[in-house]
Symmetry: C2
Subunit: 199 residues, 2 copies
């Protein structure tokens, strides 16, 4: 794009492919990298190349990994009777870091969205069905996003689990911890109200 | 660092070397790059490598460039009688984009800071003195930052220019455009007040 403007401008324009990085941040990043030890920039380039070339999908849960099986699926200490369904590989990392969940995952890489041509085949739900059929899963935890498509996907997968006599649960939705009621949007509050529990 | 955790974790940890990127943004960037067209990640790696290996300093103004002379110094349309002194290569780009300045630059790569062992030698002020001595400069514009060290550096360089009978100017300091007086810090306001001009 800006190739004729030199390597610094080219680096700035390449850095803009990163999410959340505008022209000003890209400029700051480029100058920071070039004014520091250059080894750091080279190390980043190396990591990018390695990851771009070698990272593929886990054969079992479809998260990102450079091995046939990811570190979660490959860990004998994890409980195979609990299966958590998420929309993206980032969700796997987020849930693993935030919760004490010790089961396995299945990554949809998207959500059902007929208007965009994303149906059960695109999410490879047949792969999920095989796992439900295997009989080793006692509980399937649906952790898709709480968007319209995420909810629809959760309902669709719940039906699949029902057909295989697997219990399905949905992560709780409601008022975030530390949140003040005044700042919570009305649909969340209404959901939290109707989903009240004995205490 | 996290090499044993796999290439994705390694990429996340490498991305954290970028300024303003914390663990959460690094994670988001890594997953974004790996879920997009991989060619984009490779292109970024290529740009990083090219820049890290080939970019050096302009022989004349010391900004970052992969050529002996930067595109500003090499441009015959620029006016060599005006010289703008800045602290970093990023400032060159910022001033060139924001103002209509058509003169040349000199990059200090820092500021005088005796406590940190940064004196005139470290800023290569002898190189600047040669240019002042050459007689082609009519006006030297001091655009160092308005920190204590930046101001001290500006005064030091002004003395140098005085010795060579070169006129020096300082960029204006005062209330930012669009700023409300109520939100401006007191030292800026006091500076703006004492520096008032006829209108």
């Amino acid at each position: 794009m800006l190739k004729d403007k030199g390597l610094v401008a080219e680096l700035i324009s390449s850095l803009r492919c990163l999410p959340g990085v505008g022209p000003k941040s890209a400029q700051r990043m480029a100058f920071h990298l070039l004014q520091q030890d250059r080894q750091i920039a080279k190390q980043l380039a190396q990591s990018l190349n390695n990851a771009a070339e070698q990272v593929g999908f886990c054969e079992r849960c479809r998260t990102l990994t450079e091995h046939p099986l990811c570190s979660v699926c490959n860990n004998p200490a994890r409980d195979p009777s609990q299966l958590c369904i998420v929309e993206s590989p980032a969700d796997v990392m987020t849930i693993d870091q935030a919760t004490g969940f010790k089961g396995l995952y299945f990554v949809l890489h998207g959500r059902l969205s007929p208007l965009d041509g994303i149906g059960p085949q695109e999410l490879q739900l047949d792969l999920l069905d095989q796992r439900l059929q295997s009989g080793e899963i006692n509980e399937m935890i649906l952790a898709t996003n709480t968007t319209v498509e995420g909810e629809a996907t959760a309902y669709y997968i719940r039906e699949m689990a029902e057909n295989r006599q697997v219990r399905s649960t949905r992560i709780a939705h409601g008022v975030p911890l530390g949140g003040e009621l005044d700042y919570v949007d009305s649909s969340t509050l209404s959901h939290a109200f109707s989903g009240r529990q004995d205490m």
